[in-house]
């Protein structure tokens, strides 16, 4: 599914957080949004998925494939799993409102748990799982509704660096097997260069597009310590450093 932002702007309580964001997100590609904390990148993601209404401009999407149950599907930083449901129950939750037979539903749950290597944990409760496993459950849940675009809100930020590396590989595998449209919000330059076909750098508040970097190298060929990727990270950091420094010194309420 193609997504298009047309001069999107947003403000909270009279304070502008996003200004004049125009962006194309082509089908089958992952676009990474990076920027210093408080630049409105998570807000932008909520605007893209319709969880918030833009104060200005428009968010447009092409018609999703007919078999998609929930075209714009989120993966959250804090996993957002129901603690009282098992792994299988958490995945089933998002299917229960759709007209599916019990056997179809069970088949989907089984399929996505197998794809995320969670089959043996189907009956476990979230509290029994590590952070990485919880995020895998959230990924399985997102895949269950056959999304046309995945909206990932710092999905690896709550995880330790080893787990993060493993999940990055999983995401790359998933994309390689079946390329999906993705918007990936992160503050981590390395994650952005591993996953992004295009990296959009936002300035600090009010967030504007500062730079757009395209990376041609296929996802499967990118790895830790790749000098080309590191050069891009260095360039991005050069663009962001002063902004990050200024953002760090800002008071939360902006006064």
């Amino acid at each position: 599914m193609d997504l298009m932002l047309q001069s999107v702007g947003h403000s909270y309580n009279g304070q502008t957080v996003l200004e004049d964001i125009s962006l194309d997100i082509p089908s089958g590609q992952i676009v990474c949004l990076i920027g210093p904390s408080g630049c409105g990148k998570s807000t932008l993601l909520r605007l893209i998925g319709g969880l918030e209404q833009p104060g200005a401009g428009r968010v447009l999407a092409s018609a999703p494939p007919a078999d998609s149950l929930n075209p714009l599907t989120y993966i959250f930083q804090d996993f957002a799993l129901l603690p009282w449901r098992t792994v299988a129950g958490n995945v089933a939750l998002v299917l229960e409102d759709h007209a599916l037979s019990a056997s179809e539903r069970a088949a989907i749950v089984q399929d996505v748990l197998a794809r995320t290597k969670l089959s043996e944990f189907a009956q476990a409760l979230p509290k029994q799982l590590s952070g990485g496993m919880k995020q895998r459950v959230a990924i399985a849940r997102a895949l269950a509704v056959r999304p046309a675009a995945l909206l990932l809100d710092e999905p690896l930020s709550a995880l330790d660096s080893q787990t993060r590396e493993l999940l990055l590989d999983d995401l790359v595998d998933l994309w390689t097997r079946q390329p999906f449209t993705g918007v990936y919000v992160t503050h981590n330059l390395y994650e952005a260069t591993r996953l992004g076909a295009r990296i959009v750098v936002l300035s600090r508040r009010p967030g504007r597009i500062r730079d757009i970097v395209d990376i041609d190298r296929p996802l499967a060929e990118r790895a830790i310590g790749d000098p080309a990727l590191e050069a891009i990270q260095k360039r991005l950091w050069g663009a962001m450093r002063d902004e990050a420094l200024a953002a760090d010194r800002e008071l939360a309420d902006g006064r």
Partner: protein, 264 residues
């Protein structure tokens, strides 16, 4: 390395409740044993405190004469019916306040105005409205249970993780599904701890209602014993109330263990 090495003292213990089986029983047994010992030996005069064994004999009498059930059954019925009415209305209003801004704006001040009224003061009013029979007793207990249940329920709904609700919306779940599958289970811990308070209030009001106009019931039994200064029977009645309180608390504990097993 120096050779004056000492073990580092441990200083991280405590501040962590642990499960100690049987201690609760032990406290009961020791207290009751002390009671029997001191009254039997005459250290405490029987005019001050009846002998435990005499209180026990009162139970034997109550059981053999069938009076026990004559008093306990109506009380249990009033407790159950009144509480159920109050809980149903309280949970419904609490959810309305938690889910709809209009209900919140309109009802929260009203609940705040009703909460501090001593419900016993309203019993004469309820007698006029609902009659001297069971109606006024049900109404008193229901009303007493209602307000704390409302407050506990909307507090619980307010505390449901907004991130989970946002997740439900982002997957296109219907409003009803979000309420049933996310808000209700999320509010359940607060609901159950509110239930403890509500049912304790229900027991207090049960006795109050029965003291002011009932032939049978634990409250009536205690009032009658009290006015005759019959301490054995007074204690027998009070112990029934304690037993009811312990049973209710145990029941809620079981509910919590079964329904909230997902909590870490």
């Amino acid at each position: 390395m120096a050779d004056d090495l000492n073990a580092v003292p441990f200083r991280g213990g405590g501040f962590r409740p642990e499960r100690r089986r049987g201690v609760g029983w032990l406290v009961f047994v020791v207290l009751l044993g002390l009671w029997e010992l001191l009254t039997a030996t005459g250290v405490i005069s029987n005019l001050t405190l009846p002998r435990l064994s005499d209180v026990a004999m009162t139970y034997v009498y109550l059981w053999e004469s069938g009076l026990l059930f004559k008093h306990v059954i109506p009380s249990l019925q009033r407790f159950a019916v009144g509480s159920l009415m109050g809980l149903t209305a309280g949970v419904a209003v609490g959810f309305a306040i938690g889910l709809f801004s209009l209900a919140r704006a309109g009802l929260v001040p009203l609940v705040a105005a009703l909460f501090p009224i001593p419900k016993i003061a309203l019993l004469p009013l309820f007698v006029i409205w609902f009659g001297i029979d069971e109606g006024s007793k049900y109404a008193l207990i229901a009303f007493g249970v209602f307000t704390p249940t409302v407050v506990a329920t909307y507090g619980g709904v307010d505390n449901v993780d907004r991130g989970l609700i946002r997740m439900g919306q982002s997957f296109g779940l219907s409003w009803m599904s979000i309420v049933r599958k996310i808000v209700l289970p999320g509010a359940l811990p607060a609901l159950l701890s509110g239930l403890r308070v509500s049912l304790a209030i229900a027991i207090i009001l049960l006795v109050a209602a029965e003291m002011l106009g009932a032939q049978h019931g634990i409250g009536a039994y205690i009032l009658e014993a009290g006015s005759l200064y019959d301490l054995e029977r007074l204690f027998a009645g009070v112990i029934m109330l304690s037993a009811l309180g312990v049973a209710v608390s145990w029941g809620i504990g079981q509910l919590e263990r079964r329904l909230l097993a997902w909590r870490s």
